[in-house]
Symmetry: C2
Subunit: 207 residues, 2 copies
């Protein structure tokens, strides 16, 4: 499966979550238009995404929910799972950890880091919190591939550097400071202020 568009990957992840819920409800098959409606996408969009991953159904009774889940899992997940660490144990760090580790996914947050001595060397939100100085060591020892940055904005660049030099492969930056990473490292940035300001702009337009 070579080079699926980033947008498609995002939607596949969303489809899977919906499909798992359908499965839990005992639904065995789902039409492209059903899946589309659940996500406010079009049926064509859904069919095209599914085409791209090489799955198809012989029946005209929709896609096999279980089979589709498996195909998506094959694309997104690795068999052994993937370890992640969270850097910055504030409200957001705790929210993400609790949320992600609550789901049964192939992704696990297995370590947290913070500078605050009140927080380090304790178990918070179910995972061990280490002092910042140990990032490099722990990442290597515990084979952590993904780093999630939830520190105050001014610390983002330095944290990002440490992560990169520790050999991390993917970075999720939740601070408002944009960061730079080498091309071979995958970076995703998200800032809430931007989202909220976008909403504000469109609300303003509508008046």
């Amino acid at each position: 499966m070579n080079k699926l568009p980033e947008k498609t990957i995002g939607r596949l992840s969303e489809y899977r979550r919906t499909l798992l819920i359908c499965l839990a409800k005992g639904k065995t098959h789902i039409y492209s238009h059903e899946l589309a409606n659940l996500h406010n996408y079009t049926a064509v969009q859904v069919r095209r995404d599914i085409m791209l991953i090489g799955y198809s159904t012989t029946l005209k009774k929709g896609y096999d929910v279980k089979a589709l889940i498996d195909v998506i899992a094959n694309i997104i997940d690795t068999e052994e799972g993937l370890n992640a660490a969270i850097i910055g144990v504030g409200n957001l760090g705790k929210a993400i950890t609790t949320y992600l580790n609550g789901k049964r996914t192939k992704l696990r947050i297995i370590a947290a880091f913070d500078t605050d001595p009140e927080k380090t060397n304790r178990v918070i939100a179910g995972i061990k919190c280490y002092p910042m100085s140990e990032i490099n060591k722990i990442i290597k020892e515990q084979d952590i591939r993904i780093g999630i940055i939830t520190v105050p904005p001014e610390d983002a660049p330095s944290v990002s550097e440490i992560l990169v030099s520790s050999g991390i492969k993917g970075v999720l930056n939740y601070t408002s400071t944009p960061i730079n990473v080498p091309k071979n490292i995958y970076l995703e940035e998200y800032d809430m202020i931007t989202s909220i300001e976008k909403v504000a702009y469109f609300v303003k337009q509508k008046k």
Copy 2:
């Protein structure tokens, strides 16, 4: 200023934050390529965005930081500011409230809602937390235009319905359940699981 692309609005919001930091550092002018580098965009992208908002500089010494901030503010902000409410006072709800109200923006989260009687009728993260049953009343009384949903995923659809019927104009959905709103209401959805799974996919590809 009619109908700027959504992507441009997002970037303008990001530029502004960077520009404010530049201003605080005493920087009065900034080149398109400087602003671009700070965000991993291209200089053309920056110039084009700025062109679209109708700002231009006579100098060849870069954009006037202060002037550009004002132009962006004119586009995104409303003079009186905009009130928002957060629905669901868990870790994520608290994180967003603290983060947003910490910044000096024209957006204020002025009310929180939760079903948990332990939380209601108290002040949490600096704002009053009301029981869910009062959403309609408070939204109208306090002229709240934006609703931010951070409840458990299964409650998202019902919360969204209440918000819509209370006359909200913009919704930010941070749960993993996609929701539907009428066309005249602006909706932005963000789910962390999807982001992290995207990172996971690309990390996997790179192996």
